[in-house]
Structure formats: C-alpha cells, structure tokens
C-alpha cells in the first residue's frame, strides 16, 4: 500500500497486552471513601485477538480499559504492551468511547483526519485516507456535516474509523454501542466484525451485553463484582459470522449468563446491605 503505516489496514503489528496483578483504587468523591476497583487482575491478550470484557456494572471493566489506554495509572502491578509498560495515552492504542468523543467543532472529514494530521501527514494524504475510510462505513457525502447533525450510529462509525485511520496496534472499545438503538447496534456489530476481520487488530471490547460479547469475541472474559478480577475466560468456538439464534450460541449464552448472574446478585446484595 502506498500510504505507509497510517491509513492502511492492519499494516502495523498487532499488539500483545499483559496485565500482571493490576490493582486500582479510586476515591468516591460523593461518599468520601476509597473504592477498590481492581484487585490483582491478571490477564493476557494475544495479538489479533478479539477479547470482550463482560461483568456486572461497576466491576472495574472500564477502569481496566482506561488503564490500558493510559488515561489512568494502576496503583500496583504491571501493564505491558508488547513488553513495554503503558504510561500515557498514545496513537498505538485507539480508543472508541461510549459517548463518541468526536470533536464537535470539526466536521466529519476533519474528525477523521485529526489523528493523521497529528502524525504530520500532508493534507492531500490525510484527505485521501479519510475519504477511503468514510466510504468503507458508508459515510461518503457526509464529510462536511458536523457531529451533532449525525445519528448516534453514524457518529460511532466516525469514531471507529477515526482510530482505524491511524492504524493502532490495539483497539480499545468502552461499551461503544450502548447508546444506540437495538437495530443500529446489530448493524454496527456486524460492521465492526467485518472491519476486524479485514484488519485483524487486537481488540479489547467492554460490554455488559452477553449476546454482544459472544457475537464478537474470540474469548469472553467474565469479571467478578467489585473488586474486579477475572472470574472466567470462555473461548467462543463458533464460526463467524455467528447466528445468535443457533444452538451453539445458546449454549454459550446459558453458560455465561449463569456466570454473570452470580456476580450481579452480589452487586445487588452489597447495595441492599
């Protein structure tokens, strides 16, 4: 490909992530107490793997993602990307936020080009790359629109290609489809899977939907209630694209739902006491 690393699909080596005994507490400002979010979490994510993090709300899955992104630092333990400690956010780890986090003052084209410009690419290059990615998710013709003029599903597509365009080693997605309606969600899941199969990036995907986790993942990581550690890792051995009404899918759905319900009950019990 003629564009070099940025703007190409899956040209840069996919990343391997290692979390070793990661511990994280944070202050609950309202309660004035210290909350233990992660308690010695250990997890390895293989290159080109699609891993979903599933757990009851408040189990620390978003905290873990923020640590991987470099937005937050662990209190103890190590987080390594290809053997190098993660210390700050950077373009080798693309983050897709639940609330899109598109720059509202930039139009769609400029939003997609943002990371490419930061890499120092010439305007003609960034323009061509952005056009290509916009076409890939069916958003050609929306270049000059501003984010507020687009639907939630369209905004999330822009947020996704904004990071794919800079060709990161890892894709970190924090409940990216939680704010869109069910139909759009299904379409976005399919699109994400298609893009992932083309790029084969390492993806860490946080969700609280069992179906979404099974549909997308190579391995589903079920986390315990707070303080979060890994409760179970379930490899999904179903061919893609997956049929969520098939027997095989149902088998996984039943098993994982059982695992997660135990943890959800703990959250309720803790809240009630």
């Amino acid at each position: 490909m003629e564009y070099g690393a940025a703007g190409t699909l899956g040209q840069s080596a996919a990343g391997r992530i290692e979390c070793q005994s990661v511990r994280k507490t944070y202050r609950d400002a309202a309660e004035g107490t210290e909350v233990l979010a992660l308690d010695g979490l250990t997890l390895a994510i293989e290159p080109r793997e699609f891993l979903t993090l599933l757990g009851p709300s408040g189990c620390g899955k978003s905290t873990l993602l923020n640590i991987l992104a470099g937005f937050e630092k662990p209190d103890a333990g190590k987080v390594l990307l290809n053997g190098i400690p993660i210390e700050r956010p950077g373009p080798d780890r693309g983050v897709v936020f639940q609330d899109y986090a598109l720059f509202p003052w930039l139009n769609i084209q400029q939003n997609v080009e943002y990371g490419l410009r930061e890499k120092g690419l010439a305007k003609s290059e960034t323009h061509a790359i952005a056009q290509r990615f916009l076409a890939m998710v069916g958003l050609s013709g929306f270049e000059r629109r501003f984010p507020h003029e687009l639907s939630g599903g369209m905004r999330q597509r822009v947020a996704l290609i904004r990071v794919l365009a800079i060709d990161p080693k890892i894709l970190l997605m924090d409940e990216p489809f939680a704010a869109v309606d069910a139909q759009t969600r299904t379409i976005l899941q399919e699109e994400l899977q298609r893009l992932w199969m083309q790029t084969l990036k390492t993806v860490v995907f946080v969700t609280h939907s069992v179906d979404e986790a099974i549909y997308l993942a190579d391995r589903v990581t079920v986390m315990t209630a707070r303080p979060g550690v890994v409760k179970a890792i379930v490899p999904i051995e179903l061919p893609r694209p997956r049929d969520s009404t098939s027997d095989g899918f149902n088998h996984y759905r039943r098993a994982i739902t059982q695992l997660i319900e135990v943890e959800s009950r703990k959250v309720f019990a803790a809240a009630a006491s």
Binding site: A69, G70, F71, R88, P89, G90, P91, R93, G94, V95, F97, D99, A101, L102, F103, P104, W105, L106, N107, Y114, G115, E118, K119, F146, P147, H148, E149, R162, V163, I166
Partner: protein, 298 residues
C-alpha cells in the same frame, strides 16, 4: 365532493405533520417563509410604532410641555442638524455627530480589543492550568467586585484628561466578564475530548490550542458580548467626566445647555451603536460556532 377532498387533504396534511420528527418542528418555527415573514416583521414593528405615535400625539396635543419634553419630530430635526448641519462657532453640536460617533467607537474598539486579547488568554490559562489559577485568580477575584465607575477618579488621576484614561477604564471594565467567562469555558472542557485528543497523538502542550480553546468558544463569545455591552457603558461615563469629544461628551454638553432633544438623539445614537456592534459579534459568533447551533433549543 370538493369539500370532502379538501377535508381529506386537511387530514393528510395533519398526519403528514404528525409524522415529522421533532427536530423539523423546531426548524420550521423561526424560519417561516413568505407571508409569515412579513407578518412577523409587522408584529415586531407594532409596539415601537404605537409608542412613537403616542409620543408625537401627546406633544402636539399639548399634554407634554414642549420646552420640557420635545416631540419626536423635534428630536429628529435636531438629530438631522447634529449629523448634517454646517460646522459653526455658534452651534457647538452642528455637524459634529459623525466625528463624535467615530471618537466613541474608536475608544470602545481599542479598549475592547485590549480587554479581549488579555481576557481570553488569561481566562483560558486560569481555567486550564492549576498553577496559573492559584497565582492569578486571587487578583482577578479581588479586583472584580470594585465597580468600574469607582476606577474613574483613579484613572483620571493617573492618566489625566486624556484618551488613555478612557481606554484604561473601558479595557478594565470589559476585561472582567471576558476573563471570568473564559475561565469557566476552559474549566468545562469535556474530559473525554481531552482523552480522545491525547489518544490520537496530540501532545499535552498542544491540548490548549487543539481542544481547550475551541471547546471554550461558546463561553468566550458570551463573555465578549457582555464585555462589549460594558464597554459602551464606560465610554459614555468616561466621556462625560474624563475625556473630550464623543457621544457621552455631547450628551453632557447638551445637558448643560438644557437641550433635551439632543440628549434623546444621543441616547438613540448609543442604542444604535450598541445594537450594531452586538450584531457584528453575533455574525462572527454564527460563523465560528456553526457546530454549536444544534445544541440550542430553537
């Protein structure tokens, strides 16, 4: 048959409207085309026209004492003479309007430009860097409660009856709303936008330019509008008391010569100047903040 069709059409029109998403209703209201636009213009003009007519009637019918309250026509005639009359030693005001408007506008422009330049940079820096906030915020918050008119004796004492006194006062007065607004704007920068920029490769040093400043723009413009209003207040005050020339100076002289017609003409002049400058800022606002329009209710 025709009546039935009409009612059917009516029903279709209603259901068509009902099917429209909410957003289209919002857009349809303020931009109604054609006849409706004229209707709205007339609606807007109604009250001012009625008030002017009443004022004229009260003057000609002798309800107002003409030496005390001049009629609108008298005001208009004096205003005309103030604008277009020949320069003369005998009538101090004749033909001076344009020069005085220019003087006042120039003072506002310079004072406001200084205040905007310093106010925006200081405000955004205070809002973004904790160190700068700790160092500068006490001074800003400490000086802010002093009413601007209270600076007047100090300013004239330091600068004398000169341009610099007026410009100091105007800059000082419009600085505070600008700086406060910009501080809030920078403080309100959404955390996820900062994170997104860092993730996309923006260096921490560039965050201010790439994220904080654009994200604070709506607040900055609010501050500028308030500051501009205050600048016009202070140009009048300083021209009445501290400098020569300008609309405020004319107003004060008219007062001393007991020319209420000219006082009223000067008031209208100020109103028009304030309105025009505010509109200019609004046009700039719309161009720079097109991305922000979708967040408004109407």
């Amino acid at each position: 048959m025709d009546a039935r069709r009409a009612s059917l059409n009516g029903r279709e029109a209603i259901s068509e409207k009902a099917r429209r998403p909410l957003g289209q209703w919002r857009v349809a209201l303020p931009h109604a085309p054609g006849r409706l636009a004229w209707y709205r213009m007339a609606r807007r003009a109604l009250l001012p026209v009625v008030l002017l007519a009443l004022w004229q009637y009260a003057s000609t019918a002798g309800i107002f004492d003409p030496s005390f309250v001049p009629s609108p026509m008298t005001v208009l005639r004096s205003w005309w003479e103030w604008i277009f009359g020949p320069r003369s030693e005998l009538a101090w005001y004749s033909g001076t309007w344009l020069e005085y408007v220019w003087l006042s506008a120039w003072r506002v422009l310079v004072g406001f430009a200084v205040a905007s330049g310093i106010g925006i940079s200081v405000g955004v820096l205070i809002g973004w860097f904790e160190l700068i906030k700790d160092m500068l915020d006490p001074i800003v918050q400490g000086l802010r409660p002093i009413p601007m008119t209270a600076w007047l004796p100090f300013a004239t004492f330091i600068f004398g009856i000169r341009e610099s006194a007026a410009i100091f006062l105007i800059a000082m007065g419009s600085f505070f709303p600008i700086v406060v607004s910009c501080t809030i704007g920078a403080e309100q920068t959404p955390k996820n936008l900062v994170r997104a920029a860092l993730m996309l490769g923006t260096s921490p040093r560039m965050l201010l330019l790439r994220v904080v400043l654009p994200s604070a723009l709506p607040y900055i413009f609010n501050g500028l509008r308030v500051g501009l209003g205050i600048a016009w207040v202070l140009v009048i005050v300083s021209e009445m008391l501290a400098v020569k020339g300008g609309i405020g100076y004319a107003m004060w002289t008219a007062y001393q010569f007991v020319r209420i017609d000219l006082i009223i003409a000067a008031m209208f002049t100020m109103g028009l100047l304030g309105l025009a400058s505010d509109r200019m800022l609004l046009v700039l606002n719309r161009r720079l903040l097109r991305w922000n329009t979708g967040l408004r209710a109407r």
